[in-house]
């Protein structure tokens, strides 16, 4: 047996990626006696399979296969989960690698966090309230997703109000507070704005212009629909000549994209395939993020079909555009 400490093999394994493949590999290795570091870039393990309903080709329930493995991987003494982290550097040779891992900021001080969940409630719908599991509060999922955060600061506010002494939202997050109320000249020099922030800072008119401009880039490839994992209808309203005249580039009614955005609003898994496949680089995921977050009244100043006045407005709008070939019943 090699006893030289320079060349001795290490009894630990690093598994990169916490999808079903990584989880299974980790479990098998851990059972064989290795210490496993399971590194995952997103905040939680589970990967794509966790987003699926059924698996191909056996049509088995996806979660029924995955869930026991998730629990086992989470509790296994030989598995250390390192989520929300990326591998930066690998050195050494087979048998004794040194790996440098960068943990991404969570913006939460987990030691101080009481797990009250009020920060999340400010934006998430009530049903995603944090749950108590076996007497312990499951705090692992609280994280500020930078790509979606608009720095409104509501979560920090909630944290301060609820937890007078111990504020779990760390300093960085605290600094983000009130970003939206800063005058523009003071915003400069801070972290660059994300697209979500940019949109949030727009007034209604320029936000409308922004979406009109972005959506009129559409070249009608229907790629966003074709690659979407949850678009399964046999007939699709996007192809309906009543809404949008066929064969027109750019489409004369660019906001027809919102038909799809609202149609899939409650089932969108946020995978971003639509945005990735859009040849014209329309920020489609941002639409979906917004649609998830806020109601159309706040976003587009419109509540379709609610009161007669708005209904009128919608119909007038459709009539004004040349797409309305068929008579609209009022």
């Amino acid at each position: 047996m090699d006893t030289n400490s320079e060349t001795k093999k290490v009894g630990a394994v690093l598994v990169l990626g916490g999808g079903i493949g990584g989880i299974q590999a980790s479990l098998d290795l851990a059972e064989s006696g290795f210490l496993v570091y399971l590194v995952e870039s997103s905040p939680a393990i589970g990967g794509i399979m966790a987003q699926l309903d059924k698996t191909f080709p056996t049509n088995d329930c996806s979660m029924c296969i995955l869930a026991p493995k998730l629990v086992e991987a989470g509790r296994h003494l030989n598995i250390e989960l390192i989520t929300n982290a990326e591998v930066e550097e690998v050195s050494g040779e087979a048998g004794r690698f040194r790996v440098k891992i960068v943990r991404k900021p969570r913006y939460i001080d987990l030691e101080k966090c009481t797990g009250c969940g009020l920060c999340a409630q400010t934006e998430l719908p009530p049903e995603s309230e944090l749950k108590e599991t076996e007497g312990e509060i499951w705090v692992d999922r609280i994280m500020i997703d930078e790509s979606k955060c608009i720095q409104c600061g509501d979560c920090v506010q909630a944290c301060i109000e609820e937890n007078k002494e111990r504020q779990g939202l760390a300093n960085i997050a605290f600094q983000r507070r009130q970003f939206l109320w800063l005058p523009p000249e003071e915003r400069e020099g801070r972290a660059p704005e994300t697209l979500m922030q940019t949109i949030a800072l727009m007034d209604v008119a320029s936000r409308n212009d922004f979406w009109q401009r972005e959506l009129s880039k559409c070249i009608k490839c229907y790629g966003c629909r074709d690659v979407c994992p949850i678009c399964i209808c046999d007939e699709c309203d996007l192809e309906s000549a009543d809404w949008i005249a066929p064969g027109q580039i750019p489409p004369d009614f660019p906001l027809f994209h919102l038909i799809r955005a609202y149609h899939v609003a409650d089932s969108c898994v946020g995978c971003g395939a639509c945005e990735a496949t859009c040849p014209m680089n329309i920020p489609l995921l941002s639409i979906h993020n917004w649609v998830h977050r806020q109601d159309p009244q706040k976003l587009f100043e419109l509540v379709p079909g609610l009161d007669p006045k708005t209904r009128r407005k919608l119909i007038d709008n459709v009539k004004r555009t040349p797409i309305a070939k068929r008579k609209v019943r009022v």
């Binding site: 070249i219 009608k220 229907y222 790629g223 690659v227 192809e239 750019p250 990735a276 496949t277 859009c278």
Partner: protein, 683 residues
Amino acid sequence: MNCDFILTTCPFCGCGCNLYLQVLDNQVTGIIPCKTDPISEGKLCIKGRHAHEFIHHADRLRTPLIRQGGRFRKASWAKALDVVSQRLSSIKRDFGPNAVAFLSSAKCTNEENFALMKFARTVIGTNNIDHCARLCHASTVTGLMSAFGSGAMTNSIPEIENADCIFVIGSNTIEQHPLIGARIVKAKEKGAKLIVADPRRTALVSYADVYLQIKPGTDVCLLNGFMNTLLQAGLIDNRFITERTEGFEAFRKKIEEYTPERVRKLAGINKNELQKAALAYGKAERATIIYAMGVTQHTTGTDNVRSCANLALLTGNVGRESTGVNPLRGQNNVQGACDMGALPNFYSGYQSVEDKAARGKFEGKWNTELPSQPGLTEVEMTDAAFEGSIKAMYIVGENPMLSEPFVGRVREALEALDFLVVQDVFLSETAKLADVVLPAASFAEKEGTFTNTDRRVLRVRKAIETVGESRPDWVIISQLAQRMGSDQFDYNSAPDIMMEISALTPIYGGISHERLDIGESLAWPCPRPDHLGTKFLHQGTFTRGKGCFTPVDYIEPAEMPDEEFPFILTTGRLMFHFHTGTITRRIPILDSEVSSGFVEVNPQDAQRLGIGQRSKVVVASRRGQIEVSASVTDRVPSGVVFIPFHFAECVANVLTAANLDPEAKIPELKVCAVNIKRRRKNA
């Protein structure tokens, strides 16, 4: 159940996007974009996303057909090949080899184009071989060859993104090359200036900083005025001109004649706009010119291309990253078909048939004597067939009955032939006139390579067994050659042909299927197996040595509007269809977007003529007339009408004239005179 994903190349435009074919039990069921492809980056246009839908179409030709007594009858391959070989042999014996003409296909692979080129030159012994590049970018080859020494896109597609100024002239990029159009928009969002010159207000115009709505056919005038403005403003690269170019003084005198006043009068562009555009181009660190058929399809096509080259030379915008003169080739493999020598005057790699050394090399390899006189070009073939000097034609995957100008004459010419063979995937309008129709395999059923518009050689892979009895084109050609007694066609596979191509073609010297299969992205020139391909051309020195300025004068299009035919007709393509529509009109989603042809008329003209939206009109020229519905739109200026040429029920090319560019022999498909009238009821 057998499920597979095959990485292959899109069979439509020249962008050359890679994509995956989803194959389930020998059926192609879908397409998935390829995220690692440098061109498409996981994005596709509507045609690419539905490119598989024609593969199993019920109309696919599944057996050879032989005309007997005015009707097609199904035949066996042995019978069909016998008929073809006997007839071709007897015509060659009776009338000489130059009585046979070949049209190759820009839809087929490089290997197949090479095989057909070799067949024409060795088995028949004629240089009468051409393909549809004659109708789209022949003037690019002649124009850029004389200016730079290489007739292809100088820079690669991904570089467009980083240009500081993009000058798009005569290209409807967003519709015809969507993935390149998207890159232009991306560059624009990064801060590039965008100049668009086009008679028609295309989708790209809404992104433009300066839009120059020129009169059709006045490109030379515009470009000369453009360069005059640069000269006056002192925005020229003197160091580049003295070090790397020749012929500047004569050229300088010529462009000084093109004052802004003259440009305004001839091209309809006022001084301010011209100045704004010229300054944007001249001040940019990296400026690129993108052009397409709007520049080439003129009797002055070569001149237009030379003017584009002059502009790049004048400002030193060649031979660097994100600059250059970039012709966008229309078909998936039109670049490859030119490279492979499916041209009457070149062998593969642009080695001239008149060059004794080059001819000697090919003669040695193929062990036969080759003709030294350049053959006929595509439109000349039609003329020759019409006059009777060509007795037989062999057309592979082309549809001149829709794509060539003056279709009425094309029909007469093809009907006058003694013998016509058409090899295609569908029974096209041309195939309906054939004596023998041979069913060819589609892109999903064969191995090979395409060369896209930025000279990148891309793999095409077999996903399914051939549909019906169809066969890959190279197999058909090889078997026919063997039947006709040639021993030079014992290829076992497409890579065998590629080996022969790289042995005979210096610019393809280092390209092999093995290299492409391990994921290398190779753009020619790639002379050696260890060469990594050439991202952009003319770095340090031009292919021909020095860049050549050519003084070019403005010449009017051959047919200008008059009292009887007061409108200029310009033809073109749409986003949702491809060329003669043989394939795209059989794809349901594309057909539902645009199901038939139309003529775009300016609202002023429409009002004057009493034409309403979608009303039926008759468009007539000196050569024929078609009935088509009107689309009243300000996309076209007053006095100009536009008709897409995809549709067999209203063939735009019935109207166009076969006036040719004297050098490139490209027909003037972009300008002809027509009149337009409301269709009288019961007439």
